[in-house]
């Protein structure tokens, strides 16, 4: 008899439920992801995508179910810097007086001492991360002066600097320029080869086909989950979006 080895899964969410003051945001949701897998999280606004992310990062508590990150609790995943969260553009105050370098340095806070004094290795990690997202010319630019794409890359660099093995990205492609989109897709391939696990939410169906090995369709609970080629069908998408035809979402040619 073979028992399931939870260590094999980077993310293992089992029957999780989240409610806010009695209002159910997500119920009986399951997700299992292995190293090197990229999974798309697809659903309407209010379908529980951000809630799912919040549950995985421990930002909200789950009322039922179990989450294991690398076989351990969310709490120890936080301590180990296992998960990085890249917020959607609307999720942050772009007028906050902070520059690119300092934002990316925040990726290192969790592994610094209490005063958050950067060590040599932290500085190096930040430098490398900023280089990978091609923002070396903008080290001291306030985030308010960046374009939407540059700001997105800044937060991606923060996740890279954190050296997390799991990346959660909330709408990584929304409001970005072509150059950023290309850079992000290249990074995804690199991340995959490095064995990182990626969960990204998106409205864009084409991106799902392009990048995602797996897809998780949700509408308060899991509508369908599996290999993109098998699960990402017009029927499932229609169900997920409450009856709207996929033609409307994709355009008629797909």
């Amino acid at each position: 008899m073979e028992s399931i080895n939870y260590q094999n899964f980077r993310i293992d969410a089992e029957n999780i439920c989240v409610d806010y003051n009695g209002k159910v945001a997500l119920y009986d949701a399951n997700l299992r992801l292995k190293p090197g897998q990229i999974c798309g999280l697809v659903g309407m606004n209010g379908a529980g995508k951000t809630t799912f992310f919040n549950a995985l990062t421990g930002f909200v508590n789950i009322s039922k179910g179990k989450i294991r990150i690398n076989g351990e609790s969310v709490r120890s995943a936080q301590k180990d810097q296992t998960i990085a969260y890249v917020p959607q553009s609307e999720g942050i105050d772009s007028q906050f007086p902070i520059n690119v370098w300092d934002v990316v340095m925040m990726g290192r806070y969790g592994s610094m001492n209490i005063f958050r004094c950067p060590r040599e290795s932290d500085v190096q990690a930040v430098k490398d991360a900023i280089e990978r997202v091609d923002l070396t010319d903008h080290l001291s630019t306030p985030i308010g002066n960046l374009s939407g794409g540059q700001r997105k890359r800044t937060f991606l660099a923060r996740a890279i600097a954190q050296r997390a093995s799991i990346l959660l990205l909330d709408e990584p492609f929304s409001g970005v320029d072509i150059r950023t989109e290309k850079l992000i897709s290249e990074l995804f391939i690199q991340f995959k080869n490095e064995g990182k696990t990626i969960l990204l939410s998106t409205h864009d169906m084409i991106h799902v086909r392009e990048f995602c090995d797996l897809v998780l369709l949700i509408n308060k609970t899991v509508v369908a989950y599996g290999e993109t080629s098998e699960v990402f069908t017009p029927e499932n998408i229609t169900t997920t979006f409450g009856g709207i035809s996929p033609d409307f979402l994709f355009g008629p040619e797909s």
Partner: protein, 290 residues
């Protein structure tokens, strides 16, 4: 006309310093301003202006009760400051009333309780000095309390400077990398209560919220770097306090009001002439001449 010869700039500045109460007022108000200015950066970025107003008004009954019982007034103020925040959180969670409404009704309730208590408790409480501050009449025991509380707040804010910035900027990331967000939330609230307690001596309960938000708002218009924002905020708070006290001395005006007015004028100046974010954008103006 004779008078004019005495009123040199030098004597205007130095004469008040010959009075013991003025030296004390200038020193203590600068200290209080520095503490409030430091905290101000966080409160304006976090959007806690209304919370600052609530806490500062809610300390009123605490001050009255502490005076009546002969306890340090900062203790009473602190308990009611934190208590008001707890109550706001509780009512918000347990009812469908919106947050700003809850804040408004809780702090006015506490404030009213304070006023009723003053009228009932027979003591030598000077309502005027609680409401409007009395930096010129600060007692020795108040000085001690103020110094201790100020140091405490400055030390706490200095230790958790970066964490608090991260908490204001992106609490979700803070949580994700294992930083205790709940602790930071209550730390900021505690500092807010303590700063309100020391601030009310300078400008009184009614205006203390100005000490907690105006310097930060001024600094926010002048810089894009958080550290600079803190420095500018502290400096503008101290300068306003000094200007306010001098002006109130020269023209025999209410001191607390003068301090806050000085802060308001500095803010207006920044609002109009800040290099990048001012109405007239001086930077562009000068660039045009090059």
């Amino acid at each position: 006309m004779e008078l004019c010869s005495f009123l040199t700039l030098d004597s205007l500045i130095t004469d008040p310093l010959t009075h013991d109460f003025m030296r004390k007022a200038l020193l203590m108000s600068s200290l209080v301003a520095a503490v409030c200015g430091f905290l101000s950066s966080y409160l304006t970025l976090k959007g806690w202006a209304l919370m600052g107003d609530a806490v500062s008004h809610s300390v009123m009954p605490g001050v009255v009760v502490a005076y009546a019982l002969g306890l340090p007034f900062s203790l009473g103020a602190f308990i009611f400051g934190v208590g008001s925040v707890a109550l706001i959180g509780f009512i918000k969670q347990k009812s469908r009333v919106k947050e700003d409404t809850v804040i408004g009704l809780v702090f006015t309730g506490f404030f009213a309780l304070g006023i009723v208590l003053v009228s009932k408790i027979k003591s030598n409480i000077d309502l005027h000095s609680i409401l409007f501050g009395s930096p010129l009449g600060i007692s020795l025991s108040d000085v001690k309390q103020t110094i201790i509380i100020s140091l405490l707040v400055v030390i706490l804010l200095s230790i958790f400077r970066k964490d608090l910035m991260l908490y204001c900027f992106d609490p979700r990331h803070a949580k994700t990398v294992g930083i205790n967000v709940l602790f930071l939330h209550y730390l900021l609230l505690t500092c807010l209560s303590l700063a309100a307690v020391v601030g009310l001596q300078s400008v009184g309960i009614i205006l203390v919220v100005a000490m907690l938000i105006t310097p930060g708002a001024t600094a926010y218009l002048l810089t894009d770097k958080f550290d600079n924002m803190t420095i500018i905020s502290v400096l503008s708070a101290i300068i306003s306090s000094l200007i306010g006290i001098y002006i109130s001395f020269w023209f025999d005006l209410e001191t607390g009001g003068s301090i806050v007015l000085a802060q308001t004028f500095i803010f207006l100046f920044a609002f109009l002439f800040a290099p990048r974010y001012g109405i007239f954008k001086l930077k562009k103006f000068f660039a045009g001449y090059k």
